[in-house]
C-alpha cells in the first residue's frame, strides 16, 4: 500500500444515543483514496452508526471526522446504499437513479447521460422505465447502487446492502460490485456481518467489538483482483476466512 493521505479519517469518535446506549467508543478509522474497506462485526456493534456519522447523517458525540485529502464532502461526494433498496415506489427506475442529480438541479442532458451510465454499470439499461415493484429484490438493490453511483461519488458507503438477498443473488452482486469498483476506482466502505462477504470483497477488514463499538483489529486481505468464483473456492480464501473468523470470535469475547 502506498502511504497516500486518507480520504477520510475518524479519531476517537464516540456516539451515545439519547437512550444512553453507547454505540461507538474511541473509534479510529483511516480510509485511503480508492480503497475497499469492510467494517465487520456482530449486530449492534455500531458499524452502521459509524457509517451514518461518516455520511453526516448522524453527529458524533465526541471525537473528530476529517477529510484530509480535500475540503469536506459536498452533496454528491458521498453515495449511500441502505440495507433496503429504499426506492421511491411512485417513480420509475430512471427517475429514482436521477434523484440525486435532480436534487442538485443538475443540467438535464448531463443528468440523462449520468443515469444511462449508472444503469449500464449495474446492467439495468432495459429497465429504465420499469417501476420498482416490477423488479426482483436483487434488481431493486442494483437500482439503489446505480442511484448511489449517479453522482460519481468520491466515497461509496454501503450498509449491509446484500444482507436481505438470497445467496445466489448475493454472490452475483458481490462480483458486479467488484467489477464496478475496479472500473471506477472509488473508495468503498462496506458494512457487513458476513465474514465470507468481507473477505471476498475487501482489501482491508476492520473487525469491531460489540457494545461499545471499537476497532478490535484490522486484517489486510492481499489476494489480487480481479477476484472471481475461482477465488471464492480457493484454499487461500478459506484460510483468510478462518483468520477473520477467529479475529471476530476474539472480538466477541473481548480478549486481545
Amino acid at each position: 500500500m502506498t502511504a497516500e493521505s486518507p480520504i477520510i479519517s475518524l479519531r476517537n469518535v464516540g456516539k451515545t444515543f439519547e437512550s444512553g446506549t453507547t454505540a461507538l467508543d474511541r473509534f479510529d478509522l483511516d480510509v485511503r483514496e480508492g480503497e475497499f474497506v469492510s467494517l465487520l462485526g456482530p449486530s449492534g456493534c455500531g458499524k452502521s452508526t459509524a457509517l451514518r456519522i461518516i455520511a453526516g447523517l448522524s453527529k458524533a458525540s465526541s471525537g473528530t471526522v476529517a477529510w484530509p485529502a480535500g475540503q469536506s464532502a459536498g452533496p454528491g461526494d458521498i453515495g449511500f446504499v441502505f440495507q433496503e433498496p429504499t426506492l421511491m415506489p411512485w417513480a420509475t427506475v430512471a427517475r429514482n437513479v436521477r434523484l440525486p442529480l435532480d436534487l442538485a438541479h443538475a443540467d438535464s442532458a448531463r443528468a440523462d447521460k449520468a443515469v444511462r451510465q449508472a444503469l449500464g454499470r449495474v446492467g439495468l439499461t432495459e429497465f429504465a422505465q420499469a417501476y420498482p415493484r416490477e423488479l426482483s429484490g436483487g434488481m431493486r438493490m442494483r437500482v439503489s447502487i446505480a442511484r448511489a453511483l449517479a453522482t460519481e461519488p468520491r466515497l461509496l458507503l454501503m450498509d449491509e446492502p446484500f444482507a436481505a438477498l438470497d445467496e445466489i443473488t448475493r454472490f452475483k452482486l458481490n462480483n458486479d460490485l467488484l467489477a464496478v469498483w475496479q472500473e471506477m476506482r472509488r473508495t468503498v466502505i462496506f458494512v457487513t456481518h458476513s465474514v465470507f462477504e468481507s473477505v471476498y470483497l475487501s482489501q482491508r477488514i476492520v473487525v469491531m467489538t460489540p457494545r461499545p463499538g471499537r476497532v478490535f483489529t484490522e486484517i489486510v486481505i492481499d489476494a489480487p483482483y480481479p477476484r472471481d468464483e475461482r477465488f471464492r473456492t480457493s484454499a487461500d480464501y478459506a484460510a483468510q476466512c478462518r483468520r477473520v473468523s477467529e479475529a471476530l470470535s476474539g472480538a466477541m469475547e473481548g480478549v486481545t
Binding site: L57, F80, F82, T86, W90, A91, L99, P132, T151
Partner: protein, 260 residues
C-alpha cells in the same frame, strides 16, 4: 361463473328480490301510497317530477362539489402546514378535532343564524368533509420511509424538495383515501344543512325537497328524492375511487392486480 360476474350479478339479484318483495307487500296489504308507495309509483314520480327533482339534484350536487373542493384544498393545505411547522400543528390540531367531533346537525342551526343560507350549507359540507382529508394526509406525510428522508438529507435537499418530491407523493395513497371519504361526507354535510334549514330556507336542494314533501305528505316524492341522493352518493364514491385507481395503479399495492 367467474368471481367478477358474481360480484355484479349477486347484488343485482338482491335488489330485484327486495323490489319484488316491496311491491308484493304493498299490493297484499293494500298499503296507501301516502304510507308506503309501491316501487312503480316511486318510479312514476321520478319521471313526472323529473325536472323539479333534477334541478334540486343539481343544486345539492353543486353545494357538495364546492364543499368537497374546499375540504380537499383546506385539508391538504392544513396538513402540509402542520407537517412543515410543528407549532401550527400544536396550536390548531385540537380545534380541528373539536370541529370534527361536534355533530354537524348541532352546528347547522347556529350557522344558519349567522350566515346567509347558501353559505351556511356550504360551511356545513366543508366542516364534515375536511377532517378526513386533514387526518389522512397528515398520517401520510408523517409515515415517509426514514431511509428515504435520510437519503434526501444526504443530498442536501431543501425543505420544499423534501415536501414536493418525497412527502407529498408518499402521502398520496392516504390523501386519496381521505378524499374518497370526504366525497361522501360533503354530500351528507350538504343534506344535513338543508334539512336544518328546512322549509324556512329558500334553498331548493334535494334534502329541502324531502323535508318539504314530508310536510305535504307527498311520500312518493320523498322516496324519489331519496333515491336520487343515494345514486349521487354512489356516483361520487365511484368517481373518486376511479381517480384514486388511476393515480396509484402504476405503483401502489392497493391498486395492484394480484395473480394467483
Amino acid at each position: 361463473m367467474s368471481a367478477r360476474l358474481l360480484r355484479i350479478a349477486l347484488p343485482v339479484i338482491v335488489l330485484a328480490l327486495v323490489i319484488a318483495a316491496w311491491d308484493a307487500v304493498v299490493r297484499a296489504f293494500a298499503i296507501p301510497p301516502y304510507v308506503l308507495p309501491a316501487p312503480g309509483v316511486v318510479l312514476a314520480t321520478l319521471i313526472s317530477d323529473g325536472s323539479l327533482l333534477w334541478n334540486s339534484l343539481l343544486v345539492t350536487l353543486g353545494i357538495t362539489f364546492e364543499g368537497f373542493l374546499l375540504a380537499a384544498v383546506g385539508g391538504i393545505a392544513l396538513a402540509v402546514a402542520f407537517s412543515q411547522w410543528r407549532l401550527i400543528e400544536y396550536s390548531f390540531y385540537p380545534y380541528a378535532v373539536i370541529l370534527q367531533v361536534t355533530p354537524v346537525v348541532a352546528i347547522a342551526p347556529l350557522l344558519l343564524i349567522y350566515l346567509p343560507q347558501p353559505l351556511a350549507v356550504l360551511a356545513c359540507a366543508w366542516i364534515v368533509a375536511f377532517f378526513p382529508v386533514l387526518a389522512n394526509t397528515t398520517l401520510g406525510l408523517n409515515s415517509v420511509d426514514h431511509n428515504l428522508l435520510a437519503l434526501f438529507e444526504l443530498y442536501k435537499a431543501s425543505r420544499w424538495q423534501v415536501l414536493w418530491r418525497l412527502k407529498l407523493p408518499a402521502a398520496l395513497p392516504q390523501m386519496l383515501a381521505g378524499l374518497r371519504i370526504a366525497g361522501g361526507l360533503s354530500l351528507i354535510g350538504a343534506v344535513v344543512a338543508e334539512i336544518a334549514a328546512g322549509s324556512a330556507g329558500a334553498g331548493s336542494g334535494l334534502a329541502y325537497r324531502i323535508a318539504e314533501s314530508g310536510y305535504r305528505l307527498n311520500i312518493p316524492r320523498m322516496f324519489a328524492a331519496l333515491l336520487l341522493l343515494s345514486l349521487a352518493g354512489v356516483a361520487i364514491f365511484f368517481a373518486l375511487s376511479a381517480v384514486s385507481y388511476l393515480a396509484l395503479r402504476r405503483w401502489h399495492e392497493s391498486a395492484l392486480k394480484r395473480e394467483r
